[in-house]
């Protein structure tokens, strides 16, 4: 029995997949706190799709694919900001136009220049078949994001909470915004490998949203979301061995399951807690035992 449960650890590709998924999941979880509190879910989704043409171009030009994807994501983010700042178009429309345009361009490039990057891999991810070189790229991205968080994390929290105050004490809020966008784009690239472009946004939202229901402290929220993202990605990859199903799908389902459980049962901000509070409010004290 135990032997059977340890079976996935016997295969190198499984060990790699679980390690890479876990690391990416943890970094995504960390960033998901900012995504949740800044209301950037849609933007994160857009970025994860906008990286596709960069991947294709990087392959055509023979560059590391993470580089191309990152550049493409940042360019898309800049376009969205540019349209919003300089026209009467609202943010959601700007996001919708830009990311679909990028994704479309990526599809065209991938079909015009048939490469060894299969479209399926980009859209749905393939962490089981990850090449050692790509795995190293992922780990570098994760380390870079962690470094940014260590050095500028507190400023980012301040900016997320009160941009006006951040500006008033002389922080460069534009730099902070670019920094956070850059991090989101970078992990979107990384997560694309694990779960694919379509499901990246789940990794970038679910852990933060779940942790947000559990605590009123940003520090704990970040710790919780990181653990949750990392743990669920690791376990999801592990389970996918037995289920023989899509790794990305299993990871995201697992995260969604945890979210639903927390949404209902969270001690303070859960649905049941809210109901209890309403009941307490509608009955005078003492009428319920």
């Amino acid at each position: 029995m135990i032997e059977e449960l340890l079976l996935p650890f016997d295969y190198e590709y499984m060990r790699n997949a679980m390690l890479i998924s876990g690391v990416i999941g943890a970094v995504c979880g960390l960033l998901s706190c900012f995504v949740a509190l800044k209301g950037w879910s849609l933007l994160g989704d857009a970025l994860s799709h906008a990286v596709v043409p960069g991947v294709a171009l990087a392959w055509i030009l023979g560059l590391p694919f993470a580089l191309g994807a990152f550049a493409s994501g940042m360019l898309a983010a800049w376009f969205m900001g540019f349209i919003r700042r300089n026209s009467r178009i609202r943010e959601d429309a700007a996001i919708g136009i830009v990311f679909t345009a990028f994704f479309g361009a990526g599809l065209v490039l991938l079909t015009l220049f048939p490469s060894n990057i299969r479209l399926r891999t980009i859209v749905f991810g393939n962490v089981l078949g990850i090449a050692p070189g790509d795995a190293v790229q992922m780990l570098i991205v994760a380390a870079g994001v962690l470094l940014v968080m260590a050095l500028r994390g507190r400023d980012l929290v301040l900016w997320a909470f009160d941009p006006t105050h951040a500006r008033a004490i002389g922080l460069d809020t534009r730099l902070l915004q670019t920094l956070l966008l850059g991090c989101v784009a970078a992990v979107a690239v990384a997560a694309m490998v694990a779960v694919g472009a379509v499901l990246v946004i789940a990794m970038l939202v679910a852990p933060g949203a779940t942790a947000y229901l559990l605590t009123d402290r940003f520090g704990r929220m970040m710790a919780g979301a990181t653990a949750l993202g990392g743990g669920s990605a690791f376990i999801g990859a592990y389970l996918s061995y037995f289920l023989d199903g899509s790794t990305g799908g299993v990871i995201v389902c697992l995260q969604a399951l945890i979210f639903v459980i927390v949404l209902v049962f969270a001690p303070q901000h859960g649905l049941l807690a809210a109901r209890r509070a309403r009941q307490r409010a509608s009955h005078p004290a003492g009428s319920i035992a």
Binding site: L37, N86, D162, H165, T215, R220, M221
Partner: protein
């Protein structure tokens, strides 16, 4: 109120302070930051000079045209005007959030950017602007006032903790340090952000609607605190709709309507005629069918400021009359 650890803690930490700042400077060098953000002594005379400020937004809307405001020395100045008159744009220009297309703002002779680096500019936001469900505690928020004094990693020193403690004590919120900010009453929320401005030791403090969602007792407390801050040599700028409270605590008033149309001591500027100029509709607005404001004498010697739809916007009282609750 039984414990007063700040003073003793600060005194005990004093011998190490030199060392700490040296380490901090090294850290700043390592992180590529200039050794800036030192708390400066209050200049003998702090002044705010906005001269001929024009602000245009990227979409072409000119929110403020040729606005000038001079506050010479410590004062509490009320910034009055209808919504969209340019009050918040003037605020933004003073806080460096928008760059004027023409004109400039100087604080104590410094540019806004320099004043920001000195931590002179403090801001108390309107309640509606804050995300109250953000997972931060009262202590976290007040500590944000100290970020400008910390090194790049924002690790609080003993002095920062002491300033936070002191700020909270001054607004009477020391018992709530670990509360999440959403679990406070309207007045308590306001006081936390005031404590942040105090912890920051801001020289120019801007308050946006400080009496919104605040009960009368808290309003009195805030006014008393603002007077104290003025006595310490700070400039307080208050943007408000609450005309009734103005004569009670503002010694100067600036009326804004596309520009600063009048500014000066409350007795000379806060008059029915001037208010009507600021709040009355322009010919263009009237043509567009927008509400205008009229002044009606009330029974007991006060004057009501009434919107076209009959809503009472405020009450002008003769000097020296007690305010009605």
């Amino acid at each position: 109120m039984t414990e007063r650890p700040t003073i003793s803690a600060a005194a005990a930490a004093a011998p190490f302070r030199f060392q700490r700042s040296t380490i901090r400077e090294m850290g700043e060098k390592l992180l590529g930051q200039s050794a800036r953000r030192r708390s400066a002594t209050i200049p003998t005379r702090l002044d705010l000079r906005a001269s001929n400020v024009t602000v245009a937004y990227p979409n072409g809307h000119v929110a403020l045209r040729d606005a000038s405001l001079t506050l010479d020395g410590p004062t509490i100045c009320g910034l009055l005007g209808v919504n969209g008159a340019g009050k918040s744009t003037l605020f933004k220009a003073i806080m460096g959030m928008v760059r004027p297309a023409a004109g400039e703002v100087r604080l104590g002779g410094h540019t806004v950017a320099e004043a920001q680096r000195l931590n002179w500019v403090a801001y108390v936001p309107q309640n509606e602007e804050v995300d109250w469900s953000f997972p931060v505690s009262v202590r976290d928020v007040v500590m944000m006032g100290r970020y400008g004094y910390m090194n790049g990693l924002r690790i609080p020193s003993a002095a920062d903790r002491a300033a936070v403690e002191q700020g909270l004590r001054r607004v009477g919120m020391q018992g709530f340090v670990d509360r999440q900010i959403g679990q406070l009453s309207g007045g308590q929320k306001k006081r936390v952000f005031l404590a942040r401005a105090l912890a920051q030791d801001g020289r120019v403090i801007l308050l946006d609607e400080p009496f919104g969602g605040v009960d009368v007792t808290t309003q009195e407390q805030i006014m008393a605190l603002l007077r104290e801050l003025r006595a310490e040599g700070r400039i307080i700028l208050v943007s408000t709709h609450d005309l009734a409270s103005v004569p009670e605590f503002c010694d100067q008033v600036a009326l804004v309507k596309g520009t600063v149309i009048a500014a000066g001591p409350t007795e000379t500027v806060f008059t029915p005629t001037q208010i009507a100029r600021a709040f009355g509709a322009s010919a263009a607005q009237q043509a567009a069918g927008q509400a205008s404001v009229s002044l009606r004498p009330d029974g007991d010697g006060t004057t009501l400021v009434v919107a076209a739809d009959g809503r009472v916007l405020g009450r002008l009282e003769p000097q020296g009359m007690p305010r009605q609750p």
